[in-house]
Subunit: 229 residues, 2 copies
Amino acid sequence: MASSVEDIRVAVDLIVLTLRDDALNVLLVQRDDEPHRGAWALPGGFIEYEEDLEDAAYRVLSDEASLGSGAVHLEQVRTFGTPHRDPRARVVSVAFMALGADLPDPERGDDVADARWWSVEDLTGIELAFDHATVLGCAVERARAKLEYTTLAVTFLPEEFTISQLRGVYESVWGATLDAGNFHRKATRTEGFLAELDKHAAPTGGRPARLYSAGAGSALVPPLLRSGQ
Amino acid sequence: MASSVEDIRVAVDLIVLTLRDDALNVLLVQRDDEPHRGAWALPGGFIEYEEDLEDAAYRVLSDEASLGSGAVHLEQVRTFGTPHRDPRARVVSVAFMALGADLPDPERGDDVADARWWSVEDLTGIELAFDHATVLGCAVERARAKLEYTTLAVTFLPEEFTISQLRGVYESVWGATLDAGNFHRKATRTEGFLAELDKHAAPTGGRPARLYSAGAGSALVPPLLRSGQ
DNA sequence: GAAATAGTGTCTCTAAGACAGTATATA
DNA sequence: TATATACTGTCTTAGAGACACTATTTC
């Protein structure tokens, strides 16, 4: 039987990123079915006929990752649709990146043998199902790049945070060390990045740090570039 | 009859951009069928079962826009898939942006009443078919942003070009005026942007300009920011 | 010669990086 | 007191913007 356009399926794949122990982590599920049974994969699922792409992404987040929509920033990354990327059928998959703070350990969802957080760094060498290594790499690079010229870093932090925590986001995601003093000046003097609160964090063996929340802006002008490090 | 996932179709839409008379132009086709008969739309088409997304984009470029693949830079922008964006069926459309130099006037393709270049600026106020105004806006903003931190501007120019022509690309796409002297210094001293040729352009009433070709780099470090204008 | 376009020099100002110094907590 | 963390000040340097100046062509 010749396959035709009616056999093309549309899916969403999710790259759920959070910080755990100062390392960028991604949520993967272990496949319970062929193909790639037992391999780790990005959570994903087919879209329904009357469902927006974003809604499908939130549904997968809830079903496969047991994460509510409240605490995450969701953003489309790219669409992957090369024939035979899924051996069963032609699947065109829209990749979404979801960023959140302190995301919980996932419960095991449907059609999934296991689900857990992986440090992105530890994943080099581990083979993922389908083309998910490419998809993951694409999303991680997007996140790294967007820290430079947007306020995206705050989505990895709780509502209230310190400058040190914010610097920790940059250091963890970029895998670089930043000068604490210079970062402090840059973060506090870039308009729209932060909103200063009249509160301080509980001290951790030193001077208590002032708390901030996310500012009104979304662009960082001028940007906070990696290159100069 | 209830619609199901078998009725979802995947398409590509093309935002073909070039410069004509120092203005950013986009190629639009006039629809010959309902819905939106007579309205102007982005060229697009459904993907085939064994066809990569990029290949489908090149096919549409050739069929509907009568443009070969040689002279364009093709890049995925975003995927649009909100239900009812096409009233006939559920269509998930992957938007591709195609940039080229001196693209010719299109011949009229199949299923199309007319096809022509529009100045992007002149299009404000004109209603496009489907959600194509949003798609176009998304692509134009992407192109504008990528001029800042990539060498994408050279894709709007022929193989050999002058610094003035390159500055003209920035000025046309951004709709801004740049200082000629400062731009010259920035362009020639940013590593990887340009390759100096041992040739000069024919003079146009002044000192003949040196010719350059695209350099080996794709990133502009440090970037050439709009914000400071 | 004037006019037009190309390209360079120079001054100022912003902001990044290096790093020393100060502030405020705990032990 | 020492130590740890948070923050601020200062110096140097890179690079952007403003703009004057020189270079090379056509008319």
